[in-house]
């Protein structure tokens, strides 16, 4: 890993948490990542049913990730954007094959660390583990908010919000994938989009 790449990741962790890079081992952690890895538009970070898992950091580029639902259908999950750390959580937590897919829709620069290496690092560096708790606590808030919006927010307002939040979503994701993100049928989603 180049020292400039490590600094980009360490700086991002500092930005996310407000914590000191040296005290919490951010630089050491960032040095465990491999990269920079150049990706072209259309390339995947990972695909469904992969056994080998990685945590990715995106320095540049945009894309979308999708979940494979238990009924075999695909749901839009979120946007991949600069500064984000992404992975397949099922693979990370349970060591099971991936149930999601992540595709870059523009050229991108990314870094990655294997899930095994990540855990090994956390086991040795407990200060970093406490940082992860802190980050995850924020993630829970975000997901609770998302769940509530999915269920209770006016669907047209929510669509306006999503278009702002995920520019290009209509271009790169199918209406069916978006409808699942909204928890509505394809025809309802079509109507919401038309009315907006």
């Amino acid at each position: 890993m180049s020292s400039s790449g490590a600094m980009i990741i360490a700086d991002r962790l500092h930005e996310m948490t407000g914590l000191d890079k040296a005290t919490y081992g951010f630089i050491e952690f960032a040095q465990c990542f491999e990269g920079p890895i150049s990706l072209s538009a259309g390339q995947t970070l990972w695909n469904y049913n992969q056994t080998e898992g990685y945590i990715w950091f995106i320095e540049a580029g945009f894309g979308f990730d999708r979940m494979l639902l238990e009924d075999g259908k695909r749901m839009l999950n979120g946007m991949i954007e600069p500064g984000i750390f992404v992975c397949d959580e099922k693979n990370l937590i349970f060591g099971l094959p991936t149930v999601s897919q992540s595709v870059m829709n523009t050229d991108a620069i990314a870094y990655r660390i294997s899930c095994d290496q990540w855990f090994a690092f956390l086991k040795k560096h407990r200060a970093m583990a406490s940082v992860i708790h802190n980050i995850n606590a924020h993630f829970i808030q975000m997901r609770k908010a998302r769940l509530l919006k999915m269920k209770h927010m006016d669907k047209r307002d929510y669509w306006d919000y999503i278009k702002d939040r995920f520019p290009g979503v209509q271009e790169f994701c199918t209406q069916t994938e978006i409808a699942r993100y909204f928890g509505v049928s394809k025809s309802t989603m079509h109507r919401i989009m038309k009315e907006a």
Binding site: D71, M75, I93, N136, K144
Partner: protein, 214 residues
């Protein structure tokens, strides 16, 4: 014959000296769930003394985290609902049923922007493994650190799972949910149930009929 008698005596003695493990179901479920990240979970009998029976009421929830108590919950009987505040209204988000495991970080006051709270529907019987116990922390430092990491990751993953369920076909998902939670109809108000499943009351009624008269 003599060998058999010796063997039988040894077995008997071992049984007598081992502390009775009354929380085996809870701890086995926890072990299954955490096996990948916490491979060195202590023996059930060793963890059992740190488990207590609790009642999910507002004062108990207020004291979680503050009085050194936070950890893992397990439902032996009944249902516990999870409510979040949205647009000034308390909304039922999901339900924990018999043999479900859940974690205190869902309701700890720090970072609880959605004012998430638990509500016992009827008379739930809940067990609590208190990870705030100092003796537990100092006796099993490695496992303690591992389980904290697991809880942190799993809690976020759990919400992804609830989000994913929103993408499933509403009818199929709702009917399956009603079948999987046979006690829910008797304990949860219909309006809350419909809101939780993200369906109308009319749809809920027809799905209930489908389940009851199948």
């Amino acid at each position: 014959m003599r060998l058999f008698t010796i063997f039988r005596n040894i077995t008997h003695r071992t049984t007598l000296t081992r502390s009775p493990d009354i929380h085996i179901d809870f701890l086995n479920r926890l072990r299954q769930l955490t096996v990948n990240l916490c491979p060195h979970m202590p023996e059930n009998a060793v963890l059992s003394p740190f488990i207590e029976s609790v009642e999910i009421h507002p004062e108990f929830l207020q004291n979680l985290g503050i009085q050194g108590s936070s950890g893992v919950f397990f439902i032996e009987k009944g249902l516990v609902g999870v409510f979040h505040e949205f647009e000034g209204k308390s909304r039922l988000s999901h339900v924990y049923d018999k043999r479900d495991i859940f974690f205190s970080n869902e309701v700890l006051s720090e970072l609880n922007k959605q004012q998430t709270t638990w509500k016992d529907f009827g008379e739930a019987e809940v067990l609590f493994l208190n990870l705030g116990n100092e003796k537990l922390k100092s006796t099993f430092p490695q496992w303690y650190a591992d389980i904290q990491m697991f809880i942190s990751l799993y809690s976020t993953y759990q919400y992804q799972d609830y989000i994913n369920s929103m993408g499933l076909d509403r009818k199929a998902h709702s009917i399956q949910w009603l079948k999987d939670h046979p006690n829910a109809l008797a304990q949860i108000p219909r309006s809350q149930l419909a809101e939780m499943l993200n369906i109308s009351l009319t749809s809920l009624k027809s799905f209930i009929k489908a389940v009851l008269y199948e």
